[in-house]
């Protein structure tokens, strides 16, 4: 009996309707992206994503662009990513996007239509996560690319050289990786919050506080943080002058790949727990 157990488990796994699940996941993701990406309700999230681009545009129009100034502007861009996007923009943007996916539908009393479809709840959750991630990455990724163009475009040929023959493109890739991992990381956490809490905002504010103090915590606790992993992916360290010094704590350097893998493991753990919770989710709109 004992000898047959592993093979029967493998057979059971093979017998699962993976093709159907994949089809359902694709269709659910498509439906969710269509319903949520282009929505007037998301205006404030567009604002969060594109406000730096607006500021950089004003800077591009009114300030001079001497060659020596480009280093300063690179520092400013790194600061925008590290201190604005990671700490605030992506954080609150993902809170708006992902917490709506479950809790928003509970408030609107429409989640039951999905729960009455022949779709496993885990597939539903992961599809909603995929749809939220596509929306968030598309939005913040576009914003970062726009920031980059507006920052280096006004330098003309010097800016072109910096981007295509210098370190510029590598920095852009790093920023896009940070944005993607940031959206996935915060997205997974806020999706879980939206299953666990009727109002995810207090928990989100606690998380914001946790992320702020995380750099001064012991290294084991630092692993339970999205921002700490993202910091290690920055292409260069932002100088900690002035107000930035308050937000910058020097931590033990971690290789970029290790930080990325660490964050992906954290995301997998959070999503696994979310899958477990959504199986027990009950529709009781009257208590919402």
């Amino acid at each position: 009996m004992m000898a047959t157990k592993p093979s029967s488990l493998a057979t059971r796994v093979k017998e699962q309707p993976w093709g159907l699940w994949w089809l359902q996941a694709r269709r659910l993701t498509r439906i969710e992206v269509r319903r949520n990406l282009l929505s007037w309700r998301a205006t404030w999230i567009y604002f969060l994503a594109f406000i730096p681009a607006l500021i950089i545009f004003i800077h591009a129009v009114f300030d001079s662009h001497a060659r020596l100034q480009m280093t300063d502007d690179s520092d400013v861009l790194a600061g925008i990513v590290q201190f604005y996007y990671i700490r605030l923009g992506i954080f609150f943007g993902c809170l708006g996007i992902y917490s709506r996916l479950i809790r928003g539908e509970m408030i609107e009393r429409s989640l039951h239509y999905y729960l009455l479809a022949p779709v496993r709840r885990e597939i539903l959750l992961l599809s909603k996560f995929a749809a939220g991630s596509i929306s968030a990455v598309a939005l913040f990724g576009t914003a970062i690319v726009l920031d980059f163009i507006l920052m280096y475009g006004p330098f003309g040929s010097v800016g072109y050289d910096y981007v295509f023959n210098g370190p510029g493109l590598g920095q852009l890739e790093a920023y896009l990786a940070i944005v993607t991992l940031g959206c996935l990381g915060y997205g997974a956490v806020f999706l879980l919050f939206s299953i666990l809490f009727r109002n995810p905002m207090p928990a989100a504010l606690l998380l914001l506080g946790w992320e702020a103090i995380n750099p001064v915590l012991p290294s084991l606790l630092q692993r339970i943080s999205v921002a700490s992993y993202l910091r290690h992916l920055m292409p260069f360290t932002v100088p900690g002058d002035g107000i930035f010094a308050l937000l910058t704590v020097e931590t033990e350097p971690v290789p970029g790949w290790a930080a990325a893998v660490g964050l992906l493991v954290l995301i997998a753990v959070v999503l696994s727990y979310s899958c477990y919770r959504i199986r027990r989710l009950e529709i009781r709109y009257t208590t919402e």
Binding site: P17, L20, L23, Q24, R27, L28, I31, R35, S39, E105, E108, R109, S110, H112, Y113, L115, L116, A117, P118, V119, R120, R121, R279, R280, E282, I283, R284, Y285, T287
Partner: protein, 316 residues
């Protein structure tokens, strides 16, 4: 097919919302046909339906629908359709989008989903309104699109929570005809409704529930038998109702008499139906009163509901 796989089965099911009782120790075995859940507001009808479809989970006990459980959503929701009482929809959709999007999740091809969505819209007679945003629908149209969504995938079990709410008389009659047709096709229909008179006409059986407790269940006439100790009302059409009433009141099991509005009949309420009919036969044989017709006047869901539960919702 075993009996287990042809029935909706509740085995000693209880549901508590914190310390609030939803339903308590309910055991039911519902065969195919139309079953009506009857009970006052807050009696546990919707909880029973939500338990049946996995929207809430039992605190104890087991539920299976044709041998399936909601844990296995892939199979369960292919055989079950549920038209809930929640009058809400995902934002920004047309009736058509709402149906089509839902059907694509069954794994069928898009042309097939297209065909089934069209068929469901036709069945509920929603017509051209399907192309409009649901936000602009009347209450009756919203009810219809929800019904269409519940039946579009051709389920074997259809659960309908107050399906006649918001419908005008014509739409109610159409819906009832549709339910009757689905019942005739061998489907399980579980319906809760406050419009008892209408649902009663098409029901095969009734489940009476109040305060989370099952009070009675079964064929409407069987349930009536369970309450034999309650006075039963009979309408007797005859040429001399006053004389008949005086004769019938000579025995103590007759407790109430009321003249019919047209003066050509009388409603008599009796505690012993067998003795009542024996006596009536004797009076007819004597030739003092010419009896034209005799019919039970409260052998319906509404009357049973009032007997067992009472107008205030407290079980007697």
């Amino acid at each position: 097919m075993s009996e287990m796989n042809d029935r909706i089965i509740f085995e000693d099911v209880s549901k508590f919302y914190g310390e609030v009782l939803g339903v308590n120790r309910v055991s039911l075995s519902i065969p195919p046909g139309i079953t009506t859940l009857v009970g006052p507001n807050g009696s546990g009808k919707t909880t029973l339906m939500n338990l049946m479809t996995g929207l809430v989970q039992p605190s104890s006990g087991k539920i299976s629908v044709l041998g399936f459980t909601p844990d296995n959503a892939d199979e369960f929701f292919r055989v079950v359709g549920y038209c809930t009482q929640f009058d809400s929809f995902p934002r920004g959709l047309t009736g058509w989008d709402f149906l089509f999007d839902g059907l694509t999740l069954y794994g069928m091809s898009e042309p097939e989903a297209f065909r089934l969505a069209g068929e469901a819209i036709e069945r509920v007679r929603l017509g051209d309104a399907a192309g409009r945003k649901i936000a602009g629908y009347s209450k009756g149209m919203r009810q219809k699109i929800r019904l269409a969504q519940a039946i579009a995938h051709h389920p074997r079990v259809l659960v309908l929570d107050e399906p006649l709410n918001g419908l005008d008389p014509m739409a109610r009659a159409e819906s009832l005809a549709l339910f009757e047709e689905l019942g005739r096709q061998g489907m399980h229909l579980v319906i809760s409704s406050h419009i008892l008179d209408e649902v009663d006409r098409i029901s095969d059986r009734v489940v009476l529930i109040t305060g989370g407790y099952l009070v009675a269940e079964g064929n409407i006439h069987q349930v009536r038998q369970e309450v034999r100790d309650k006075p039963m009302q009979v309408l007797i059409r005859c040429d001399n109702p006053e004389l008949l009433a005086s004769k019938m009141f000579a025995v103590n099991h007759c407790v109430e008499a009321r003249l019919h509005g047209d003066g050509r009949g009388i409603f008599l309420r009796t505690r012993d139906l067998d003795q009542f009919y024996t006596l009536l036969n004797g009076i007819a044989a004597e030739g003092l009163v010419r009896i034209e017709a005799v019919a039970p006047a409260d052998d319906d869901t509404s009357a049973i509901y009032n007997y067992l539960i009472g107008s205030d919702g407290s079980a007697s």
